[in-house]
Symmetry: C2
Subunit: 167 residues, 2 copies
DNA sequence: GCCCAACGGCTGTCTGAGCAACTATAGCCG
DNA sequence: CGGCTATAGTTGCTCAGACAGCCGTTGGGC
């Protein structure tokens, strides 16, 4: 048996990326949960909060997250039920509706963000000296630019432009 | 509004990791699908194929993948139905059963692996010069070691070592 | 040898996500 | 203006996975 295949440096490299991602994601999830949020809910709050008027059309929200439009419908359903955001009719297009963060949603985000940043620092950026961190991020950026499936996923639009930058 | 929070370098850093991971994962999934495999199925085949005797107890398989034990039961159900692997009773412990890769499963893995490696090289390791790649992997390794939730996930055992032994 | 706590695996139930189908609206073209 | 196609969002269906509970097995203590 070609046991060596499994020690291929390429496999190892992917393993590192996947494990680092999984580990970090798990830490994030644990912290989100302390504030009654799931990862997608946090993502939705972030995307909305950084958008003009704290709002985004359902479709645009879908394009900026890793969700399908139906997925967005469901998440927004839940979050609206929980009072974190609400739907608002689009005045210029009666097919569209906006998801708008409520005061409660912003408050929740404000409560969650500091801890989130602390975790990033503790387990990710703070693990490396500045130079090493930059080197890693530079590598990640180049890989990201290569595989970039739009912005985060789901969008075939190469330059969303007004969508704000990366991340 | 503290718009700057969203441009925090820590947020950006996480964004890079997440997007690189997501993009790569999507490429992998597309290639797996060409061979009739899902990501978890590929993972299961890999884990089993690299284990002594091409087999692993259900619990150990769960510990090495990102699945719960019930998740493993379901995946193994499907893969057994598809002939990629089969269950075998453990002779020394009647509670345990092994998942064993079949010839068909090994063949499927052999067919899938070359393309997988090619994709890794094309979109990940090949995107950087050796020095930059090493720098990135070094960073990822340190992050991984920090967040390490066991091996990949679920296992608190730092060195699984001799899994073949019957408890 | 018997009892009991721990373990390994499986199943019932629930949640969350995607796809495809549907409804309503918009915008174009004649 | 009337119709036709594309678009925005929602809903039905299905599937994958987690959790909790169950059953059979094991191994230790007595």
């Amino acid at each position: 048996m070609d046991q060596n295949v499994f020690d291929d440096p390429r496999i190892t490299a992917v393993g590192l990326l996947v494990e680092a991602h999984a580990g970090l994601t798990a830490r994030f999830a644990a912290q989100y949960e302390q504030h009654g949020l799931s990862a997608v809910e946090f993502e939705v709050l972030m995307r909305l909060a950084r958008s003009p008027g704290n709002q985004l059309r359902m479709t645009d929200l879908a394009a900026q997250t890793s969700l399908s439009t139906s997925g967005v419908t469901r998440v927004v359903d839940r979050m609206e039920r929980d009072g974190l955001l609400c739907r608002r009719a689009c005045p210029s297009d009666r097919r569209s509706s906006y998801a708008v963060v409520t005061a409660s949603g912003l408050k929740r985000l404000d409560e969650t963000l500091p801890g989130h940043l602390r975790i990033i620092e503790q387990w990710f950026t703070g693990q490396l000296e500045p130079a090493a961190l930059d080197a890693m991020l530079d590598g990640l950026r180049r890989v990201r630019d290569a595989v970039h499936p739009g912005a985060t996923a789901g969008s075939t639009d190469p330059v969303p432009a007004a969508h704000a930058g990366p991340a």
